[in-house]
Amino acid sequence: MATDTYVMGIFGSEDQAVAAVHDLKKSAWPLVRTHSPIPSHKLAEAVQVKKSKAGWYTLFGGIIGFFSGFALAIFTAVRWDLIVSGKPVVALIPFVIVGFEFTILFAIFGNLIGFLHQSKLPRLANLKHYDSRLSGEHFGVLASCAADQQDGLQDLFRKNGGDVRVFDEQTPTNGR
């Protein structure tokens, strides 16, 4: 099926957007994207978002940080090679503090990298099909269809209480 027209339903409430996603799943029109002004569990469940892999980035960041912290403390201690108060130069007990702090720091770095990578950020170009109301308090559901089927898709969104905006590749048009 040719899908050269993009239709967006813009909803004032979470439940309307969730209902539209459910209806869309029952239809033949593919769901392209959803927008939410809040972290919506209902919408995530409706879209059936896959579990994020950001946690693995955090874990590996933490593990790398743990060993890096010890390595840094050992390296700097060995470079000076000073014996203070009869303590060993490489003393693991106090180095736990550096190891712990680096674990947290690198886990956060890992989490940030994971978040950016999984969200495909930064996105340098503006979103192609977007409505400024989605930066406010509205929910958005974007779907695509063949040009001759856009009326059916618009009806689906309207039936669930949404405004409709149609995008073609040249000029966006507003419809109600």
Binding site: L59, G86, I93, V96, I97
Partner: protein, 397 residues
């Protein structure tokens, strides 16, 4: 008449075995061992009960909604408070066996603090305050959950008599409950610190760690959460009741448990690092004896692995936290680990010359007896206030 559950004969058997082993030990050739096992179990099981109720008070203070029926469950641990209080009174009889400093002649001026009448009086008052506040908190919590006259029993009659026919103002009750939750938390920190200093740290009277009190109450919350998870998982799995939890409940309480696994290890470490830096013989001797000398060093490392390394690695996983059967095993292992941690803290003072770990079958039997007492107290509480165990799936108070 109360209907008997299949658990009751098991509980009765555990108590009989425990009491029998304790009396046999006390009457035998080595009463010290029986009293020392008694002290360890008193500390552990009381901490589980005290830390268990702390969960409910923390949820009240933070106005948390996620805990749902778990708060009601944690309040059932108050059933062990009177038992713990009586056990403390009995401990007085075994004082010569559990306080090595009573036989020491060089307390270096600490006699003012370390003398039996003062020690027992202050700890007794401390426990009275802690348990008293705990019961007042419980009373206000029950007022919000329980209708008068739904069930019979001694606790229930006291509860019904206390509230009388007075009209209930939920807002006022909630406000009072909030005040007593804060008071309980304060009393928990202070009294558990006192118990830690008096009943554990004092056994090596020349060693001092100002953080030992904080370490004691953090540990109590850690095992309290472990006990709560076991109780919740058992009740969730038991087909004979309506109590069911969502995965989200297990996941959330599992995260809190994971967090306090870290806090417990942190409090252990912050004591260790200060002693390591100071390098003062009267401080380091305590650590060296427990982590480097045979037979304690193997036990010390085992405890560190069982109570921190394993739970830390396992609880990183989300799925594991939502598996009740697995969590029963894990929390059971950690509570057992903390039992041995008490042995590690107290053992070298009781057995300074030993080369063999002082652990025998009698210790296991006495511990089973204490477990039976805990089970009896909690099941007694649930018979008095069955509403707390009748919360349906997905229901959040």
């Amino acid at each position: 008449m109360q209907k008997k559950t299949p658990l009751q004969p098991i509980i009765a058997a555990l108590i009989v075995v425990g009491v029998g082993a304790f009396i046999f030990g006390v009457m035998g050739r080595n009463p010290d061992r029986a009293w020392q096992a008694y002290l360890i179990n008193f500390l552990l099981w009381s901490a589980i009960a005290q830390g268990g109720l702390l969960f409910s008070t923390v949820m009240t203070t933070t106005r948390a909604k996620w805990s749902g029926p778990l708060s009601g469950l944690s309040e059932a641990f108050t059933g062990f408070f009177p038992v713990s209080f009586v056990l403390f009174l009995i401990l007085f009889l075994g004082a010569p066996h559990v306080f090595p400093w009573l036989h020491s002649h060089d307390l270096h001026g600490k006699e003012v603090w370390l003398n039996l009448p003062f020690l027992f009086t202050r700890d007794l008052i401390g426990l009275l305050i802690l348990y008293g506040i705990g019961f007042v908190y419980l009373y206000h919590s029950l007022l919000l959950k329980v209708e008068p006259g739904d069930a019979d029993g001694a606790f229930r009659s006291i509860f019904n008599r206390l509230q009388g026919n007075r009209p209930r103002d939920p807002e006022r009750i909630k406000q009072r409950k909030g005040v007593f939750s804060i008071l309980y938390m304060l009393a928990f920190a202070l009294v558990l610190s006192l118990i830690g200093y008096d009943l554990v740290m004092s056994n090596d009277p020349h060693w001092i760690s100002t953080l030992f009190g904080a370490y004691t109450f953090v540990k109590a919350f850690y095992v309290g959460l472990g006990g709560l998870i076991i109780m919740a998982a058992v009740m969730h799995l038991y087909p004979g009741n309506d109590f069911r939890l969502d995965d989200a409940h297990f996941h959330d309480v599992g995260k809190l448990f994971f967090a306090f696994c870290l806090v417990w290890a942190d409090f252990f470490y912050v004591q260790l690092v200060v002693i390591w830096y100071g390098n003062i013989p009267e401080e380091t001797a305590y650590i060296i004896e427990r982590t480097m000398a045979i037979p304690w060093r193997y036990l010390a490392w085992s405890i560190f692995v069982v109570c921190f390394v394993l739970p830390f690695c396992i609880l990183l996983n989300k799925k594991v936290k939502t598996m009740p059967k697995f969590m029963i095993v894990l929390c059971g292992c950690i509570i057992t680990g903390i039992w041995f941690e008490h042995l590690l803290l107290l053992g070298p003072s009781f057995h300074p010359e030993t080369h063999v770990l002082p652990f025998a079958l009698s210790d296991v039997l006495i511990s089973l007896g204490f477990m039976g007492l805990m089970l009896a107290a909690v099941s007694f509480f649930f018979r008095q206030f069955p509403e707390l165990a009748r919360i349906g799936k997905g229901e959040v108070r």
